[in-house]
């Protein structure tokens, strides 16, 4: 057996090969980004939900401010419709006075229930 020395570079002849990627760290980590995203979304969603709740209450207020007025407006309207119906009845009686057995203002429907007239306004003939 002969001893020999393998012909390789000695110390410092060949530099070690860098096989790892060496990139500088840029910006915050993924976890931080994710947490930041969640917090932004949470802030927005909180105020969105709160505003929807407020809008719901505003609608409730608007609806009730109208509902409190319904009887008042309906009463006035009813009086006006009653006046018009009485006028129409009188006109009908005047027109149909020659027809025996005619009941002016009688409902054309076979029911006791009140049914609003299909023609909203029957006016007297113009002179």
């Amino acid at each position: 057996m002969t001893s020999f020395v393998q012909d390789v570079g000695g110390e410092g002849k060949y530099p070690t090969i860098r096989y790892q990627r060496y990139l500088p760290r840029k910006g915050p980590s993924g976890a931080v980004l994710f947490a930041g995203l969640l917090s932004v979304i949470g802030f927005g969603m909180y105020h969105h939900i709160q505003s929807r709740k407020e809008l719901r209450e505003l609608r409730r207020e608007r609806i009730w401010s109208r509902l409190h007025l319904v009887p008042l407006l309906q009463a006035e309207l009813d009086r006006d419709i009653y006046r018009r119906e009485q006028g129409m009845k009188a006109r009908e009686a005047e027109i149909m006075k020659d027809v025996p057995g005619w009941q002016p203002g009688k409902s054309v429907y076979h029911t006791d229930r009140y049914i609003r007239p299909m023609v909203p306004l029957v006016l007297p003939e113009e002179d």
Partner: protein, 158 residues
Amino acid sequence: MGYFPGYDHLPHKEWVDSTPPPDNVKDVPEVGATSAVLTSASFALGAHCQKYNDDFMACKSENDDPAHCLQEGARVTRCSIDLMTKLREKCRTELTKHWNCLELNNHELFYCRQEEAPLNQCIFQNFGYKKEIPGAPKDEVPVFEKKSRYFGNARYTF
């Protein structure tokens, strides 16, 4: 009066039925308030005339005929006139400010919170009616008393 589509068979110039009111409703007065004033006073009206309003609406649900509930309707109108007269005496400036604000703001109540607070205060002091919205959550501040708000003329939203 403009053009009414579908009413060419009734070519009247003036769409006014000149029938005088029948005798049983002849003496009933009209409220004569415009929509902004009524909106402004609506919650006070609901509190002041609740008995008559409920009576009238119960009558209406019983029978839809306009001739059926004339007496109840007259009571509702008289009660409303009574409240409007009292409001005019007691809270005239507050009411005027509030309904003028409503007129300028599309009749939206949430634009006029600044004017509404003195009106509510005046109504509560003189009549004892506290503004309450039925069905609103009990544990929260009422929407018309919120300090920070999202809608209306809020100075600070958050």
